[in-house]
Symmetry: none
Subunit: 197 residues, 4 copies
Amino acid sequence: MAPDERRIQLLAASREVFGQRGYHGTSISHIVTAAGVARGTFYNYFPSKRAVFQAVLDDIMEQVEGAVHPMDPTRDIAAQVRENLERLILTLSAREDLPRLLFGEALGIDEEGDDALRGFYATALHRIEHALILGQQFGVVHSGDPVLWSRCLLGLLKEPAFQASLHNETLDAHALVEAIFAFLARGVLAGPAPSNV
Amino acid sequence: MAPDERRIQLLAASREVFGQRGYHGTSISHIVTAAGVARGTFYNYFPSKRAVFQAVLDDIMEQVEGAVHPMDPTRDIAAQVRENLERLILTLSAREDLPRLLFGEALGIDEEGDDALRGFYATALHRIEHALILGQQFGVVHSGDPVLWSRCLLGLLKEPAFQASLHNETLDAHALVEAIFAFLARGVLAGPAPSNV
Amino acid sequence: MAPDERRIQLLAASREVFGQRGYHGTSISHIVTAAGVARGTFYNYFPSKRAVFQAVLDDIMEQVEGAVHPMDPTRDIAAQVRENLERLILTLSAREDLPRLLFGEALGIDEEGDDALRGFYATALHRIEHALILGQQFGVVHSGDPVLWSRCLLGLLKEPAFQASLHNETLDAHALVEAIFAFLARGVLAGPAPSNV
Amino acid sequence: MAPDERRIQLLAASREVFGQRGYHGTSISHIVTAAGVARGTFYNYFPSKRAVFQAVLDDIMEQVEGAVHPMDPTRDIAAQVRENLERLILTLSAREDLPRLLFGEALGIDEEGDDALRGFYATALHRIEHALILGQQFGVVHSGDPVLWSRCLLGLLKEPAFQASLHNETLDAHALVEAIFAFLARGVLAGPAPSNV
DNA sequence: AATGAATGAGTTTTCATTCAT
DNA sequence: AATGAATGAAAACTCATTCAT
């Protein structure tokens, strides 16, 4: 088998078992059994358990980041945000191992891994911040701390995804996008005198 | 030393080390060294590593749940929600180990632990759902799926807390409450035609 | 409680648990729980786990040895042998813990314990040897190696007792005595020409 | 080294150490030191201490059972019984660790082990019973309870073997066979009036 | 004499990693 | 490149024994 294929095969098997058993519940034996190769072969492709896990996570992060397309200023912004959100949610719910790996296992392996995770969140949050700041400049977003707000917005998306995975539910992407948009547009409180005009 | 004190001391030491090194990074040696007792003493108070960790989590969950006071219908509801939110955030940020333990380590130890965590979230989410449903009946909350919305609202609170802990920042409780309230009241999108009257 | 009573109480509790769980399956906790005393109290009466077990065994051996009465040369020898056998078997089956302790647990704790057991068997075997030699002198016992024969005779008694305890059966003392006597008197083989005159 | 060889080597080393120190006196360290392998190597071949011990015992039981050959009805029965007895005794005395393991250590490890031992004895006793019943039908064995008698006969063989191992003596197979046969044929009691004609 | 909290050496077992074939 | 036997450090847990109260 070509080296690249073997690597991909090992990566896939690793993701599979890491997703099912978690990082600490997975042993190299699990991985090589799942991949159908010998123990030593694994170490020809990855220097350590830690390293495959990072490779798996990198894949996932790349996948998630790839779901978000750059904005085209000539098209309707709101529509593009909505599309991005939809793609993001679909990506999150497309593979059931993803939420567990990203939200449950990614944190706490070691300092280096935490850094990688922080990097991932930093990228995501910067994009949101950037959008917020732009929106504020154009007057379509209320004023407020973009850092804090971006975290709140991330939570709006992440928590439903996390809860769904916690209960082995599949995420209704459309419903979630609608809900998030409703939040963004007017909050949850209706009432006699919101007076936010 | 009296058994009760010793138990508390061991629990405190365990929480300390679990908070710093995570569940899997912590060994019984770490705990007993931190507590300054012999290895066997630990097992006089807790039957297993798993068990202390659960005790630590139970403490945390109790603490977090205790921060939310029951509503008094004769007083201003919005004010009470705000107070509860403030207390909750203060609790979450009062001890730096709390977010890591609750958001980063609680998941994935074993099935039983996951159940406990699901129970904790279920309690929290039910409260939020209940409040939403009540609000919808009184016409002060927009209509929408209370289950999904409660998860979104939880994320609004949890993610900023999580991100702060990820960066070792201290949470500005007041700012976060304000931000959340702003979200609740009107969302983030301003604009020519919010038309939510 | 008087020291003697306490010692007896502890000894009884120890025999109880040793009989149920075996030497290695028994911990000091089991003993003190069964006796209803504190851990330290135990060590006021016995210097070690090893020591109580030896005391228990000594009791048992004494009991077993006490079941065999010295022979009265003025009375019928065969009848006395039969009586002793009966008493012995009754003793062996009177307490269900006895066979397990004597046959299953007594051997292999340590060298000292093995010596004690060897001493016990030596005493028993010497008595049988003595009787055999006497019998041979009087012409009522066939000629043959008394050492080997005494071991065979011991097996004739011990194995049925052991097997009964292995299957939690109660030993039928009378039937066993009859069987042993039949063996002694004529063996098992009948036939055209036993010619044992 | 080939897996089969290694397994055999570990089994041999285990049998050696178990035979010398007993089950509870043996630690995995003793075994791996005796075998000259690393600690982990042991666990590549046996899942637990309990499991090697059972494997050792299984070997022994197989060996002992293998010493008894099926009877050929066309040949002299008595001679075949004598040959089987001789082989059995030779087997029992060929390796000095065998009696200790089979008679002293096999009982009391755990319920499963006890079952295995009961099974071993059941097989042996059933064979003896079967022979007795056949003998009774042909009129060459006196009438009497075959179950009880088979246990007595087992004792006749086992106890001399056990006592010999207890004193580190080597068993004189021929003398023992003669003694047992003498027992079988006419018992020990001679005398004026056996009157078993 | 009684208590029971504390001790720590010792045990079994796991598993990431190495390396000769 | 692939194999899989071997390694050994490290972990969780037990329990006989001690000793201050």
